[in-house]
């Protein structure tokens, strides 16, 4: 009898599962297109019209390609996406967006208004990347898709991910971006994607003042920005230093060359920045690099300790010079991706700072750099 009652209860529970399944709207994957990447441009027709290009995955047996491209125009991004959806037999789902690409013109006008659509929707991941196209987003996505035999959306995502994982550029995820955008003492930075020789590549980083594109820096400089903020491991660095101090070490000095080109592997790199004088806005940054010498453009006859010390010193000077140049570029564009303003805010009396206030002060900041390079070894060759 007891067993009987349990059996009835069990059947009841099982039946309830069947009905409960209908409580949520079902989404069948074959009927949906999973948006992977989309690009945002301001339409040529009107300033208020947004044009989006959507790369999405479809899971259809008949489809030759997994990725499809759709375009749409609208006053808001959602409207544009919906208009794009009208030209497709699939329903678009936004939950897997990995990359949002802004056209250059859009970025120049400011990405502020295009950011809230990404934050408002809880279904979107905070780990997606944001990037800027050197031309329009449409150009990159279309041409890229035509030329590349691989899938475009995934390709670009991997491209950016590779650079972040390899410590070449700072993290550019949506979370990091909103974080810096909302931080008055720091400006956002995004990878700049362009088409070179029909290949999509990251050619540098876009500088922003608040939300407006104001300039770009090279990938080499992007690495310096990253080194300024994060710890760096296992990253190649190529430097050109003056050849003159090394003349006596060269095994076969060739004429008409004035620079020595070197490749190092940074094993560990870190930096620390402190505010030394709040009135003068002067900072002191200590950069520590542990490197391995990989390649030299010319051969040396005797790589002794003195040589190593000289090399360290010259590399230190070069890194210092590069940082100085970078700071000048940043101050010229009045964009502070280094986060000097955050340090300033942390030491300010009431701890309050506005972005406007900081952009007035940032061009006057000075950094007293102190680079310490330690050559760990020179490979198996002595």
């Amino acid at each position: 009898m007891v067993v009987e009652i349990y059996r009835i209860k069990f059947v009841f529970v099982l039946i309830s599962f069947v009905f409960l399944a209908a409580c949520m709207q079902t989404k069948i994957i074959e009927q949906h297109a999973i948006i992977n990447t989309y690009g945002i441009d301001i339409s040529e027709e009107s300033e208020n019209l947004i044009e989006t290009v959507i790369l999405s995955y479809i899971f259809d047996e008949q489809a030759e390609n997994v990725t499809t491209i759709n375009y749409g125009k609208g006053k808001t991004i959602k409207e544009a996406n919906q208009n794009a959806e009208k030209k497709s037999s699939f329903t678009f789902l936004p939950g897997q967006i990995r990359l949002v690409l802004y056209g250059k013109e859009t970025a120049e006008k400011g990405f502020k208004n295009y950011l809230n659509v990404l934050i408002r929707d809880a279904r979107l991941s905070d780990m997606m990347y944001l990037a800027v196209s050197e031309t329009t987003a449409k150009d990159i996505l279309l041409l890229g898709q035509e030329n590349a035999d691989i899938d475009m959306g995934q390709y670009m995502e991997k491209l950016i991910e590779k650079e972040i994982k390899g410590d070449s550029i700072p993290n550019v995820s949506l979370h990091e971006l909103t974080h810096t955008y909302e931080d008055p003492g720091k400006d956002p930075i995004m990878p700049l994607i362009s088409l070179t020789d029909n290949k999509i590549a990251i050619t540098g980083m876009a500088l922003f003042q608040n939300d407006k594109y104001v300039g770009k820096i090279s990938m080499e400089d992007a690495f310096l920005v990253n080194l300024f903020q994060n710890k760096v491991h296992d990253r190649q660095i190529h430097l050109s230093i003056s050849r003159e101090p090394f003349l006596k070490y060269l095994s076969a000095p060739q004429a008409n060359r004035d620079q020595l080109h070197l490749s190092f592997l940074i094993i560990d790199g870190e930096s620390k920045t402190r505010l030394t004088d709040i009135k003068e806005l002067s900072y002191r940054t200590d950069v520590n690099l542990k490197v391995i010498l990989n390649e030299t453009s010319e051969t040396f006859k005797d790589e002794n300790e003195q040589f190593a010390n000289l090399l360290e010193k010259e590399v230190e000077e070069e890194v210092k010079r590069q940082y100085k140049k970078l700071l000048a570029t940043l101050q010229n564009a009045n964009s502070d991706p280094l986060g000097l303003g955050s340090i300033y805010r942390a030491h300010k009396k009431n701890g309050k700072l506005t972005a406007k206030e900081w952009h007035q002060k940032f061009p006057e900041t000075t950094i007293n750099l102190n680079v310490d390079v330690k050559l760990i070894n020179t490979g198996i060759k002595q």
């Binding site: 409580c23 809880a122 979370h175 810096t180 909302e182 931080d183 955050s342 009431n350």
Partner: protein, 373 residues
């Protein structure tokens, strides 16, 4: 109504379980958004506000324990009748019950709102409320001992969520805390007051006290529970200040849930879905205990069968939570619960304490009889 409650010894619980009851009911739904509310008042010094609030709670809970110790086996309803007489006692008891009903309603509508925002915008309020309430009804029918069992199990089933915070900790910026000690005492105090909704729930001690078997051991689990829940709120506040920049923090509705958004593993892309579903294990015990307190209180005050109140109230809440789906209305309900609860939970026990002491002295003078007889 008897001042002291006669509870059969087989229905009693060990004092040790108070830890689970109190720490769990304190956490509830409020914690999902609390760092923002504290930060709004005391900025980067928000963590001091949390410590301040916890100290205040320790003070309140000491007062509560002191009041309860004056009686042999009484709950708040009995104590109020003893102090203020039959009618006023009943009125005050009813206010407590209303507070619990409102708290219950705020928990269920907040959780449904979170589900709708984070998981499925087209979720039917009625279905979710029905499912949650059927669990509540089922557990409350089991009595306090079953409820304690639920708390014990769900505590361990949900505690691992804290482990997921490792990822946001990695993204913390420590200069968000600087410059330290900038907030004035008023700001700190306002920040502490902003935690009132989250920390609410320990007033349940006034109701479960008569059910405890070994009363001499009540202090330790109670204080431990307060410290535990304060630690959790403190940790979450510290992480959110470090993880979000200040303007970002002020704009996010569910600060704590947003921190789980960056968590992903190869086999599961979005961990926040799991976190929100898992949060049911935090929400359901809360609702169960509140519902038990309501039905038990009404039985004590008006001699209505617990079963009757349970079913009627479940239906009323079901209807109410089906229709309350407007964001601003939900905010208003939560704010009024917080405001109303602040006086009942945090201020009232401190006012009650001198009255109990005066009454005790007065009785001793006039009759020399113990209060509890």
């Amino acid at each position: 109504m008897d001042i002291n409650v006669k509870v059969k010894s087989n229905l009693r619980i060990q004092a040790f379980y108070l830890f689970f009851l109190i720490s769990f009911i304190q956490i509830g739904v409020g914690i999902m958004g609390v760092p923002r509310f504290i930060f709004k008042e005391s900025q980067q010094d928000a963590w001091i506000s949390v410590i301040l609030a916890s100290c205040f709670i320790v003070m309140v809970i000491s007062a509560m324990l002191f009041i309860l110790k004056q009686y042999e086996n009484a709950d708040i309803l009995g104590i109020q009748t003893d102090l203020f007489g039959k009618w006023l006692g009943k009125l005050l008891g009813t206010i407590y019950i209303i507070h619990f009903i409102l708290a219950f309603l705020s928990v269920i509508i907040t959780y449904i709102e979170v589900l709708k925002i984070f998981i499925a915008p087209n979720l039917n309020n009625f279905v979710v409320a029905l499912l949650l309430l059927s669990l509540v009804v089922y557990s409350v029918r089991g009595g306090l001992q079953a409820i304690v069992g639920v708390f014990f199990l769900f505590f361990f089933l949900s505690i691992w969520l804290l482990g997921l915070l490792v990822e946001p900790i990695r993204f913390m910026h420590f200069n968000h805390f600087q410059p330290m000690f900038q907030a004035s005492f008023t700001e700190l105090w306002k920040g502490a007051k902003a935690t009132s909704y989250t920390f609410m729930g320990f007033e349940i001690l006034f109701f479960v006290y008569p059910f405890i078997q070994n009363k001499q051991k009540v202090r330790f689990p109670t204080y431990l529970a307060i410290i535990w829940s304060s630690m959790i709120v403190l940790i979450l506040t510290v992480i959110s200040i470090g993880y979000f920049s200040r303007d970002q923090l002020l704009k996010l509705e569910w600060t704590v849930l947003d921190m789980f958004k960056i968590q992903n593993l190869t086999f599961i892309e979005r961990f926040d879905y799991i976190v929100i579903a898992e949060w049911m294990m935090v929400v359901v015990p809360n609702m169960i205990l509140l519902m038990w307190a309501i039905t038990y209180g009404i039985k004590r005050l008006y001699q209505v069968k617990q079963k009757t109140t349970l079913y009627i109230l479940a239906i009323v809440i079901l209807i109410a939570s089906t229709f309350i789906d407007d964001y601003f209305l939900i905010r208003k309900i939560i704010d009024s619960v917080a405001e109303f609860g602040f006086w009942i939970v945090y201020v009232y026990p401190l006012l009650l304490l001198p009255m109990v002491l005066i009454k005790k002295r007065w009785k001793r003078k006039s009759g020399g009889r113990d209060l509890s007889h």
